[in-house]
Amino acid sequence: MNALISGHDLCLFRGDKCLFDSLEFALNPGQLLIVEGSNGSGKTSLLRGIAGLLEFEQGEIHWEGNPLRGHYQAFRADLTWFAHKVGFKDDLNLLENLRFEQSLHSFDEGSVTAVLARLGLDLLTELPLRSLSAGQQRRVALARMLLSKGRVWMMDEPFTNLDSAGRSLVDAVLSEHLANGGSAIVATHQPLEIVGDVKRVSLS
Amino acid sequence: MMEVLSMGGYGSFVWSAYGLTIIVLAVCIIGGRMGHTKTINDVRRRIRTMEVKS
């Protein structure tokens, strides 16, 4: 059974500097791939390349065995993206943002209240996101991960702006996702206490 | 000879049009050549500095 996502002979330049060359990786269902490296080593660019936001100089990404170029839709239906920017509108409140999110990805509406309660956001649903703290905004982005049915999570530096409670929340949520058979690619330079099948790729 | 140059009274227009054409073509030709030699020298200098560094 071939890997869920695999990268073959990936190469990327930033200006004249070669970030990585002939990079290979494979991710199976239920697995976590950690992308390590110092700041500016191209972790974010690698994730954005895998997701299809930028083009590699060379190399290909395969989704369920066949090349990704051409049929992105199936891949993106399964993908949930968590990045440095929250990805929600500051002027809208939490429920309005989530309703818009439903027009893009399929949600299981039933669990919205439960997820918000778990993330400690259930009292803040009427406030525009602008008035939430940075940590709370990260939890709002986590709400998108929990509510989406996508099997693949891609997270870029999930721990920034999070206190220790937030950090353990991310670890717990990620472990549950892996336990349910989901898979994830996480770019971080901080240690992750994750139980489960973990692979690592380091960009020197 | 003079009446040929006067172009039936429109000499100033005809010659200014042709003069302008020659100027624009010269700018394109010389600009192209200079640009090419400048690029060659820049790239060669860049290669030399890379050689020295590595």
Binding site: P29, A51, G52, L53, L54, E55, Q73, A74, R76, A77, D78, L79, W81, A83, H84, K85, V86, G87, F88, K89, D90, D91, L92, E96, R99, F100, E101, Q102, S103, L104, H105, S106, P128, S148, K149, G150, R151, N180, G181, G182 | -
Partner: protein, 232 residues
Amino acid sequence: MTDTAPPVPSLWSGFIGIVRRDILLAWKRPGDVLNPLFFFAMVSTLFPLALGPSSEQLGSIGPGVIWVAALLAALLSLNSLFVSDFEDGSLDQLLLSPQPLTVLALGKAIGHWIVSGLPLVVISPLIAISFHMPDQSIKVMAVTLFFGTLSLSLFGSIGAALTVGLHRGTALLSLLILPLAMPVLIFGARTVSLSTSDDAVSAGIYFLAAYCMLALTLAPFATAAALRISNE
């Protein structure tokens, strides 16, 4: 966690979702809607002040002035079309959603048109009256502005998508879009001025409608491609 991809919401829900979100955003931040309208009204009143109150002169320059003011007002609100999405990361979410980006780009352009183009069409009769324009040309003005502002929003969204990542994109946007807006301006303003001397106006209106259809079909593809390129 099933092992097949989750179902993708319908195209229509994606399109309506983004249009509703943009209208909601405009509702929550009325400045973005009203400023171009005030700009449109003010620019139109500059000309009578500058050229004197003689009514037949105003009547003849009225269509041109109103159309140029509408064009500039639409351009004013265009450059912020994708900038807020780019800055808060929702552009990444749009690009990574299973919904085809062309439909979302069309939604953004239509959303922008509803928020900026339609209000222009609604208040243009008021301005036209102040220019002593005859009744039938007020109606023709509204019709031409209706098609014209829609084409502007669509072609303008291509320019907005091309300049979204550039930090000084505002002047550049109008530089890119004005040549494309010229046919709309030509047919719009001339058709209205034809209607003041009650000549046949249907030719101009048909052209504007045809140009609008061209924009509706082609512009979203170019906007989607431009978004993917500038968001790299």
